[in-house]
């Protein structure tokens, strides 16, 4: 049937309901938003018909975003932090689950269902649940910690030896979600626990598709479990790892509902943030690059010395990656004193998706549209990098 002229008309007739809805509710809005991002709300704007009555301001919104808005850059930094927790922990956890389940165990379908179930539940409700779990004094987390300590007789021990009475007080003060240092990692871990079943299924499918003879051959060669994991399983599930990194980045850029639910629509506790100026940031960046380059070179040297470079590319990559991380940690630990003149109050969990919502909520529609487009540009750049690395369409 392919290739007939009359097909065009039929096809568009069949697609008509979809295309009409798409054009009206998804196509037109993009252009409307683009126009909106070039406008702003002014004092004279009539709030009852705010969208028609905004004044044109050219690229002012974008200029403000890139040059003046510290909170936006702070939110991007938090997004990066959120991504660096959710992605590696998520991959490790789902791969671990998949490897456990790819063994011959009874009740695979039960475990698969149990691990996947949290995925289909409403993130808002799951967020509320976690608020309750992390609550100070009566939250499940603290009940367990306190119960464990009491069971181990630690409070009595403290009282008898040091004279400290801890009973009745909250162990964690304001709770995990009230502390600016722990709020974002807690949300990230909660979301990893909710989403790990998804990656698990992808990894499980990939592992099941590895030809059986590879494992048999490895067994004959006397390969250990670790060798099989390193040289058979991981290379074969690499596409899934790449896929999870990319979707993880997208998820972090769009993270909203979980933050909204778990911080009481606030974006976490307020914190005093000090950021370096542009020249200071450049200084710090140069310092970090110097550290990372030197440790990476050292790592490369070590893997060359041990002969990994020729024979064992995976070990070489592991060593080099590890030395990069060491370099980063070293750079952070010994960072030079640069001026930190930019001070402002920000929310400790206000990632960029949430910041966008906040801008929208306070009625700064033009600016919100501009932020949305900048975030979309970041997402597009990352997926372009992915397509290049992955060498695949879609």
């Amino acid at each position: 049937m392919p290739g007939r002229k009359s097909d065009t008309l039929t096809a568009y007739l069949l697609l008509a309901p979809f295309l009409v809805l798409f054009a009206v509710f998804l196509g037109y809005p993009v252009f409307y938003s683009l126009a909106l991002s070039l406008k702003k709300v002014t004092l004279s704007t009539d709030w009852y018909r705010v969208f028609e009555d905004m004044s044109y301001c050219g690229l002012d919104n974008y200029r403000r975003l890139f040059t003046q808005d510290c909170e936006f850059w702070w939110s991007l930094l938090l997004t990066l932090l959120y991504a660096t927790i959710t992605i590696p922990v998520g991959i490790a956890m789902s791969l671990g689950l998949a490897i456990l389940l790819s063994n011959k165990v009874r009740g695979v379908s039960f475990f698969r269902g149990a691990f996947f179930l949290p995925n289909v539940l409403d993130p808002l409700v799951v967020g509320v649940l976690w608020v309750f779990i992390c609550a100070p004094q009566y939250g499940l987390f603290e009940v367990i910690v306190r119960g464990g300590l009491e069971w181990l007789k630690i409070p009595q021990l403290l009282q008898s030896t040091f004279g400290i009475t801890a009973s009745g007080q909250s162990l964690l003060g304001v709770g995990l979600l009230g502390n600016p240092w722990t709020v974002l990692p807690t949300i990230a871990i909660a979301m990893v626990l909710k989403g790990a079943g998804f990656g698990m299924i992808l990894f499980l499918t990939a592992i099941q598709n590895i030809p059986e003879d590879l494992f048999e051959a490895a067994d004959l060669d006397g390969a250990s479990t670790w060798d099989k994991l390193l040289y058979i399983t991981i290379p074969h599930v690499k596409p899934v790892i790449l896929f999870m990194v990319v979707t993880g980045v997208m998820g972090s850029l769009n993270a909203f509902t979980e933050i909204y639910a778990m911080t009481g629509a606030e974006g976490g506790p307020a914190t005093q943030v000090t950021l370096p100026t542009a020249s200071g940031a450049l200084h710090l960046l140069a310092y970090a690059v110097a550290w990372v380059t030197s440790t990476t070179l050292a790592g490369l040297f070590v893997s060359w010395w041990c002969g990994f470079l020729e024979d064992e590319p995976i070990k070489a990559r592991l060593v080099t990656g590890l030395s990069m991380v060491i370099g980063l940690i070293g750079a952070i630990a010994t960072r030079p004193d640069v001026e930190l003149p930019i001070r402002f109050t920000a929310r400790a969990a206000s990632v960029s998706g949430f910041y966008l919502f906040k801008t929208f909520e306070r009625g700064d529609y033009g600016y919100a549209a501009a932020i949305a487009f900048v975030l979309m540009a970041i997402a597009l750049i990352i997926s372009a990098i992915n397509m290049y690395a992955y060498g695949r369409e879609d």
Binding site: L15, L26, P29, L124, F132, Y138, G147, L204, N209, L356
Partner: protein, 316 residues
Amino acid sequence: MTAIPNTPSTVPKTECHSLLWSSRPEAFRCGRRGAIVGTSGWLQSFLYLPLLLLAILMLSPFVWMLVVALMKPGNALKFRFIPEGPLSTLYSFENFERCVMSPDFPFLRFFANSLIVAGISGLLVTLICTVGGYAFAKKRFLGRELLFKILLASMLVPGLIYMIPQLTLVIRLGWVNSWYGLIVPHLASVFGLFLMRQHIATIPDSLFEAAHMDGAGEAGILRYVVFPLSIPAMVTLFLLTFLFQWSNFLWQLVVNTPDSPLRTLPVGLALFKGQYAIQWEMMMAGACFSVLPIALLFLLAQRFFIEGLTQGAVKG
């Protein structure tokens, strides 16, 4: 050990594509890898320990939710693992009763609203996407490639870009506080179209040709070939749309005024949270209204959920 001979360090791209697409039932077969310990032996039983611990870790929030929902008011704050006193004095169905009876927060009404919104959206999206997906899979038409690229690009746009313009459209159409406003703007599901296109493309062309020879028009082809042969994919799409609409909190919040009779479950729950912030037993009972039906649906149709979500994900 040195590297195993002929072990590919990377998987060819085309292979990885088919690897995630083809032989889907593989994922549902029992393990045979022996990736950790041998395929036999009592060591296997040690695998249950981490598996059980992880299952407990991932499911405990929901078990906790149920436990707290069954507690009598005020008991959540003084919870002990070893119950003090008989269970009947600590636990009851009171919270559920209060949720259902509450005059300000009629949970049964919220529940019915969510059911209607999610159910009708699911049906319409499935119908529209199946018909559209058929056109995309089996017709070669002018502008097909361009359209495909536009649709693909639209999936990268963050949802909040759509929200303001959709809201102005809904206001202009007078759809605030109406079923139309809740349902219509989310009917064009690009994901659904791609899912159906992918499925219908696997139906052999010869079937369509045979139906054509037998004098079937497009309606006949849809009725006798496309619909019967894509029921699994349609069920999957229906369930996923249902799921999406069931938890589509932000949109349902903005198209309804706070006193609207059409408030759905997530909206009701959020408002409820504002009112009863400290009454955790009530909150958790409310949360049960959202979680339990979906959990039940998942248990009944696990396969469709898992296949649909992972297939859609890999397709991107």
